[in-house]
Amino acid sequence: MADTALTIDGLSVDFEGFKAVNGVTMTVDEGELRVLLGANGAGKTTLMDLISGKTKSTSGRVFLHDTEITNWEEHKIARAGVGRKFQIPSVFKELTVRRNLEVASCRKPGVFANLRFGFGADAKRTVDQVLELIGLTEEQNQVAAYLSHGQTQWLELGLLITQNPKIILLDEPTAGMTQAETHKTSVIVNNLKGRHTIVVVEHDMAFVREIAERITVLHLGQVLAEGDVREIETNPKVREAYLGTKGIL
């Protein structure tokens, strides 16, 4: 049995009476790639917000390996080893692609530790590798604002890879992408498998089939089912919850 990388224990959040996430308990193993599925409003993004500290939970706990990180400040959770990609791609628009990655390569959180020039030889190597992996070597001196939508998404993935967290949370990494771009994204994500523990929120089943090992289905803020792709696709509860209404599978 592999080590448990992420443990979520009875996590809930209450938005003035509305429980967006309601007693979710799940564990993700070291090196695993877990897909979170669920209709709009099922609580997938909120769950990521809770793990990464964007939203403070009202009850329950989150552990990264053996460290409890429940409701820490965002940058401390990030330092503890949680990386997050947002639904709307966010990168540093006025910096070049290379600068973006250099910033991500920086290991020191505070301002005084960074009062020096250059990012060092290690960072250069990492950045070169990541540029290769996300396929933006050609564009490395371009300002990020001029990248296409797909390229921006890859750059954000690149930021995460450079940051080198223990767990990567990806919120709809293929949103708004063409088929070809989606495929390239799945190649990048598959490349990360085994090196990082990854949790992905995704709607695109074609993409899910390309990358998924285990799937957790959320429904109305609770865990509805968990299993591999085939199990989920044949699970009667999942069929009842989705096929009848939305038919996302």
């Binding site: 940058h75 990030a78 540093f92 006025e94 070049t96 301002v111 930021l159």
Partner: protein, 382 residues
Amino acid sequence: MSSKRPIDWALYAVFVVLIMLAPLVMDSFWLNRVAKYLVYGMLGAAIALSWGYAGILNLGQGLFFGAGAYMLAMSLKLASQTSLQQGSDKPVPDFMLWNAEPGAPTELCCINKASFLWLPFQSQWFGVAMGLVLPVALAGILGTIVFRKRISGVFVSIITLALVLLVRLVVIDAQPITNGFNGLTDLGWFKVGDLEFDPYVVPTYYLVAVSLSLVLVSARLLVETRAGIILQAVRDDQNRARYLGFDVPSYQTFFFAVSAAIAGFAGMLYVIVSEFASPTFMDLTFSITMVVWAAVGGRSSILGACIGAILINVISATVSETEGFAEAWKAVIGLIFVLVVLYLPRGLGGLAHDLVDRFVVRKRGGGERALRVTSTSSQAAE
């Protein structure tokens, strides 16, 4: 960007050489004027640092300028002939005597309830130290509160604006120790050893010019450090920076405080060359005018903002020589400003940048595409 850096530094060098040569062509009257404008240039650079690089539009920079100015002015006031000859063994500012309660002791310690605050300012270097410490402390406290609470954009601008006006009123109201509306006038000269900085002599000009050069170069170096680059990342997307693990408020507060320190330093130099400190330093108009200089010169270029400030003031002074044109010139400034915002949102610095790109970078045939986003795209994101 790397291929443009030598050109950037060359521009800095040209600028420094030019201001160093100015005394060759100017009489002492103009030299004193230009020294003031160089101080304004330093303010422009301070604005560019916080606005262009940190994304913090401070509409109350006058607070830090004023703080620096008052701190040194207090020391220089005590060093003036009038303060020294009040018949006490310690100097006493004249305005305190004029306003003293009948029968009050004519001593600095106790001529009025708060006059003891002036005691340490008998040392000029205490005033100089406070001229930096006070702005930095104010900015540090304000920045910590505001940025930890994740207040951003226009709300920071409004808070800084309200704060400078608040402090201005407090200074005016604390008349017994600040001389209220009139400010501190009739100051002594700044002294280093035996050297006295008479505002109309060449050494005083060089004090300002060398200070400005040092500030410009240090500020420029500072934004090229890792911290400076991360700061720009924070400006572009606070959240992204946060989720990469950076302690975002510490960056914002640090650079906000550096900008405040530069403004405070500028305030002290201004007192040395103009021989007064007054609550007008904390007027709304002055704080916004600084932003105007920076915007015309280029908000994202430290040197550009500095040159913008100097240029506008030199032209103003030249035009105002002609009787009656001073007011018309103000209108022209208003017009220029509207036009710059509309057609040149990155100011003269941005224009220069584009020209350099066009004629120099391309000629070299470097494969690097030097692209810069107009600042409007980042504004739109707010």
